[in-house]
């Protein structure tokens, strides 16, 4: 949970707070946080996108509220307070998704309520929102949220293409294509995540060397 470079270094600009979550401190590919939904709900591109957006929304709202109340919450009860705030917005999101589409609610299932224990959100509340202004917290949440959604989409797209031969339910391959069923099963999540981490780490090390 200690991958927060910017808050420990010198003052970062506003754009920097936003950009860092997208790539340099990407919650999934670099910080490797919130793996439960990343592995579980990334079996199709659509599910991955919906889950990413739901998490991003909860992250944004909880960051705002935590930042607003940062001087009001005593240190001893901060974790309990953060969880309470996060759980509230997760419940709100849960109702919202039910009202948006029955189909979507069916496919995301139990994972919506599990956003509560997504350590990405708690870590942003603890490491960032509790120490920074509301404006910066919003930028941080937006960057991290979009970075998380992007990473989930990367996994979901690969798994859907290989495991189901389609993307957003749109068939890509001719009839004869044999789907790699394992990619849709939980094991496929680990394979895909490992492959992405490998690719990104190769790039990062090259960058450091040169």
């Amino acid at each position: 949970m200690s991958n927060d470079h910017t808050s420990s270094k010198q003052k970062a600009t506003s754009t920097d707070e936003f950009i860092k979550g997208l790539w340099r401190d990407n919650p999934v590919f670099v910080q490797v946080l919130g793996m439960c939904p990343v592995l579980a709900v990334s079996n199709t591109a659509e599910n991955a996108l919906a889950m990413g957006l739901a998490t991003a929304f909860v992250l944004l709202m909880s960051n705002i509220l935590v930042s607003l109340l940062r001087n009001f919450i005593p240190k001893q009860v901060r974790i309990a307070s953060y969880i309470l705030i996060i759980a509230t917005f997760v419940t709100v999101t849960d109702y919202a998704i039910q009202a948006i589409s029955v189909e979507l609610y069916k496919s995301l299932g139990a994972f919506i309520s599990l956003i509560v224990v997504n350590c990405l959100i708690l870590s942003r509340a603890e490491a960032f929102a509790s120490k920074n202004t509301v404006w910066k917290s919003i930028l941080d949440a937006l960057g991290m949220g979009i970075g998380f959604t992007f990473a989930l989409f990367c996994l979901g797209a690969v798994r859907e293409i290989l495991g189901n031969g389609s993307i957003f339910d749109f068939a890509l391959f001719p009839e004869g294509f044999q789907n790699w069923i394992v990619m849709i099963l939980p094991a496929g999540g680990f394979f895909t995540l490992a492959a992405w981490l490998l690719i990104i780490n190769v790039f990062q090390t090259r960058k450091i060397k040169s």
């Binding site: 309470l84 039910q98 029955v102 099963l185």
Partner: protein
């Protein structure tokens, strides 16, 4: 969390302060949740009702209007007034000539991941099932959820035999067989790769039809008789 402990030692903030913080956050949370619930409730209910309605139209092809029925303790149909919800509800579907298409029946049972809830359509005149839809399932995406999507599997339910014997019992219990092994009209052709889920559907429908179909059929006959000849009905009784 050594840091946190240190802070606690140096600067003990009062219990009231902690209590106040939790209380205020609790109140904010409660308000937000109630607000979200109240705002979404009408739409959620509407969507759920729409989904059920759509399912009824699908399992009873040609239906334009529906009527919900409950079953009383004697096993007779009772019409449902506006808002009461009996333990089991059946839906009769009528076509544009106001003739009965069939009955839609809800059933549920254990699948691979969780309880699967389904709706199936029963045509009492030909004594067959004429439609099927999964209402709720958490089956594995890409494998088990083929029971909802695969057309070959859904085609099983276009004319699935559930005819009754003279004793008023189901002649043959509906079962799922291996893919491509379907021979009898009451067998469901299963799905390779969704073996457990497709068998679960066979079980759910098999168990439900054993219980429900004889009752529906008797009621249907009674209603038909009532319509065609009221007097004869009286003598019968």
């Amino acid at each position: 969390m050594k840091e946190a402990a240190d802070i606690e030692m140096k600067k003990p903030s009062g219990n009231t302060k902690m209590l106040r913080a939790m209380l205020v956050i609790g109140i904010i949370s409660a308000l937000l949740i109630v607000l979200a619930f109240e705002l979404t409730l009408p739409r959620v209910q509407k969507l759920k009702a729409e989904a059920l309605e759509k399912a009824i139209f699908k399992v009873l092809p040609g239906t334009v209007s529906t009527q919900a029925f409950g079953i009383n303790t004697k096993g007779e149909f009772i019409e449902i007034e506006n808002n009461d919800k009996p333990a089991s509800t059946y839906y009769a579907g009528y076509n544009e000539n106001e003739k009965l298409v069939g009955y839609a029946v809800e059933a549920a049972g254990q699948g691979y991941a969780d309880i699967i809830r389904v709706l199936y359509g029963y045509n009492p005149n030909e004594q067959i099932l004429i439609g099927f839809q999964v209402l709720e399932s958490k089956e594995t995406p890409g494998l088990g959820d083929k029971i909802e999507k695969e057309q070959r599997f859904l085609d099983n339910f276009k004319a699935l035999d559930v005819s009754l014997s003279n004793e008023g019992q189901l002649k043959n219990k509906v079962v799922t067989v291996k893919q491509g092994k379907k021979q009898k009209p009451w067998e469901i052709d299963g799905i390779t790769g969704a073996t457990i889920s497709s068998r679960a559907i066979g079980n759910i429908i098999g168990t439900s039809t054993m219980e429900v179909i004889p009752m529906l059929f008797n009621n249907h006959k009674m209603m038909d008789d009532t319509k065609s000849n009221q007097k004869q009905m009286d003598i019968h009784e």
